[in-house]
């Protein structure tokens, strides 16, 4: 059973169609990357999932039943535009937000204290929010998002504003939450992090799903018959056949690495059959397009077709 199923959802704001008959599903226990250019409808979709807005048409199912407002207690949402009450202390704000998510005050305090200790921020407990740096506030916001142990988490651009160390820490926390059984939606423009931690993705543009599937499978779908070969010696000694073009070449004192573009008529074995008799190959592999390439290619080709 999918944790989320979006079925033919349309959402309009006046004349503008933000989501256009959109359907997608998210399997439990996975990290789902929600990708798309600015204004694609990601935030609108998230706001429907968190019951901030309601769809004009279509419906959303959550854990096997139509999504209702009470389900929001099972959802943790870290919006892209996030803030805290500046004049309250960190603990006051955190307890307040945890209570709004349905925890009792006692539960909230003990659970928050555990999280603060885990992230090494317990010294901030009684500080005022305005004394904290942006990155520090982001950490508090992360804690507030996960404190009520939701089954389903939505992070909208979670890494923005973090330094590399804190971003890494956050990434590990997200992976840990997944291991504990949570399902995560990660909406981000940071494609490297998508490749690193997402299991599945959906790319939406102009309110429609353009691309959907497992990350590796999606990348493979966009494979361009490109390979990388590393061998001992220099490339100058070789005469390459016509069906093999060098995209880039990298030589150090002992080895050479070539990135090759094959023509459609040839496959990986043809490359090996060419190199193995001539040089000592030390490594060989296919170059899959990065999510970044997939993203740009998909969005541009759609925009051109319109």
């Amino acid at each position: 059973m999918n944790i989320i199923e979006v079925r033919n959802v349309t959402k309009r704001f006046g004349a503008q169609v933000a989501l256009d008959n959109l359907s997608l599903s998210i399997a439990p226990g996975r990290i789902f990357g929600l990708l798309g250019p600015n204004g694609a409808g990601k935030t609108t979709l998230i706001r429907l999932l968190t019951c901030i807005n309601v769809p004009d048409e279509g419906d959303i199912w959550f854990q096997g039943h139509p999504l209702v407002a009470d389900d929001v207690a099972r959802i943790g949402y870290l919006p892209e535009e996030r803030g805290l009450y500046k004049r309250m202390t960190v603990s006051e704000v955190a307890v307040y937000l945890a209570q709004l998510r349905g925890m009792s005050k006692k539960e909230a305090v003990s659970s928050l204290k555990q999280w603060f200790e885990k992230l090494g921020i317990e010294a901030w407990w009684n500080r005022r929010v305005e004394e904290l740096s942006k990155g520090m506030q982001q950490k508090v916001q992360f804690v507030v998002t996960v404190v009520h142990r939701p089954d389903f988490l939505i992070f909208d651009e979670p890494f923005s504003g973090f330094d590399p160390i804190n971003a890494e820490q956050l990434k590990q926390e997200i992976l840990e939450l997944k291991q504990q059984g949570a399902t995560v939606i990660l909406s981000t423009h940071n494609m490297a992090s998508v490749e690193e931690i997402c299991d599945d993705i959906a790319l939406i543009n102009r309110g429609r799903v353009m691309l959907e599937g497992e990350v590796r499978e999606v990348r493979r779908r966009f494979r361009q018959n490109r390979y990388t070969v590393t061998f001992e010696g220099e490339a100058a000694a070789l005469t390459l056949p016509e069906w093999m073009q060098i995209l880039s070449q990298n030589t150090d004192s002992q080895t050479t690495t070539l990135e090759l573009q094959l023509s459609d008529t040839h496959v990986s074995n043809d490359v090996l059959q060419f190199f193995v008799p001539r040089v000592a190959v030390t490594s060989f592999g296919e170059i899959l397009p990065s999510m970044n390439d997939v993203f740009i290619h998909t969005v541009q080709s759609q925009n051109e077709s319109k």
Binding site: G14, C51, E81
Partner: protein
């Protein structure tokens, strides 16, 4: 605790814990009491008897001045310079030099230390009276003593009575009715303005510091809006009640320490009217006459007034606060909000102006304003003490309730969309478009 009560308690607690809240709660009553007591205190303490040396170049006023509780007149012989020197030496407080002339109505008042403000007018009044008496005597050959006793006896006493349908006449205090109505209207006006504005500011703050999306992903915007409105109102009422208690307590303790300052004796009334702190005739009358007449006081529609006050106060505040919240949600900052707020706040301002113009509670304008829901909380309360037909009262309440529900619906719609709309300068036209979303 339900979510709404969590919201109410946060809104309430963060407000009453604010320094500015505590300061205004304490400072305002102190200021009020000081403003009430200080003029009286000053008057009491400047009430030493002033000695005035009179030098009359015509001997016209010689021994004509009579001494009062404040001024003592002496008529020593000698030159002006002589007397001025004695004034400097502190033998007298002022020297009145009446100049030579036919009418003898010009004079100089010399002093070395500032005399009480009322000294000049006290002397002037006596001079006027003396001159007038002289003129009467000269022109009409009157017996001044007899004339004065006649004048004192000729004094009218008008009572205001209202006749009901049965032809029964009841004593009514017109001034009292108006004042009570005005005070009730003003209370509502200030409360709505101060606290509805606070609601709006807080909505804008939540929007601009971007906490709002975190919140509305856990509670319904409508719940959040109502929680906020109620929380702010509770904080406001707390402040209100605390201030009233403080004022009473302060006045009480002042009375204990210096009894003559607070007691409503004649000196006080006199001083109040003299120092010009009284607003108008009606207000001065309030001290002397209005509270005096107990029987009129008892015929006053207290329970109706109290019930209606609570009703109009609560519904009026809720209506305005939700409108302010809706408008606040549509803007990103306070400067942009002012043009959206203006059309909402205008009716309140108009109502309060109409009341302060002194229009009769029975006039057509006030009657119409008491039906229009945006002005009725003020206008109807102004009317109630003077008596309002039941059907008119019920109609006004009904219209208010219907409008209130409409406003809450409107505000909730706008709030829901406005909260997450950034960077747009929203107009009223745009707000109405949101209603269809």
């Amino acid at each position: 605790m339900s979510k709404v009560s969590v919201i109410i308690s946060r809104e309430f607690l963060t407000r009453i814990k604010k320094k500015s809240f505590i300061i205004t709660t304490l400072l305002l009553p102190v200021l009020m009491v000081v403003m009430m007591v200080l003029p009286i205190y000053i008057a009491h303490h400047s009430e030493k008897v002033c000695t005035v040396f009179v030098l009359d170049e015509n001997d016209y006023f010689l021994n004509q001045f009579h001494n009062t509780s404040k001024v003592k007149f002496e008529f020593p012989s000698g030159e002006l310079e002589d007397m001025q020197q004695r004034c400097i030496n502190g033998e007298c407080d002022a020297v009145l030099h009446i100049l030579k002339g036919n009418q003898s109505n010009r004079a100089n008042l010399f002093f070395s230390e500032d005399p009480p403000l009322s000294l000049k007018s006290d002397i002037g009044e006596q001079m006027d009276e003396i001159l007038f008496d002289r003129a009467l005597q000269k022109e009409f050959n009157l017996d001044i003593k007899k004339y004065k006793s006649i004048k004192d006896l000729s004094h009218s006493d008008i009572q205001t009575l209202q006749i009901d349908e049965n032809g029964q006449a009841k004593e009514k205090m017109v001034e009292m009715n108006r004042i009570v109505g005005m005070v009730c209207g003003m209370l509502i006006y200030f409360f709505v303005f101060m606290y509805a504005n606070q609601v709006m500011r807080s909505v804008i703050e939540e929007k601009s510091n971007r906490i709002i999306e975190v919140i509305v992903s856990s509670v319904k915007p409508f719940q959040f809006m109502m929680g906020k409105i109620v929380g702010v109102a509770l904080a406001g009422l707390t402040q209100f009640v605390a201030q009233i208690i403080l004022v009473v307590a302060l006045l009480f303790s002042v009375q204990l320490i210096v009894p003559e300052l607070v007691a409503g004796d004649e000196a006080t009334t006199e001083v109040v009217s003299q120092t010009g702190t009284a607003f108008d005739g009606a207000m001065v009358a309030s001290d002397a006459d209005v509270f005096g007449d107990i029987s009129a006081f008892y015929s006053f529609p207290f329970s109706t007034l109290l019930l209606c006050f609570l009703f109009y106060f609560i519904i009026g505040y809720l209506m305005y606060a939700s409108l302010y919240a809706g408008v606040g949600s549509a803007t990103d900052n306070e400067t942009d909000s002012s043009q959206l707020v203006l059309p909402i706040s205008l009716p309140l301002v108009i109502a309060i102006i109409v009341i302060f113009m002194g229009l009769s509670p029975q006039s057509e304008v006030v009657r119409w304003l008491s039906f229009i829901p945006f002005t009725s909380p003020i206008a109807m309360l102004y009317r109630i003490p003077s008596g309002v037909p039941l059907w008119e009262l019920l109609l006004s309440c009904g219209i208010l309730v219907v409008t209130f529900l409409g406003c809450v619906w409107f505000a909730a719609k706008v709030y829901r969309i406005g909260l997450l709309t950034y960077g747009k300068k929203v107009t009223w036209k745009e707000l109405f478009r949101w209603l269809r979303m």
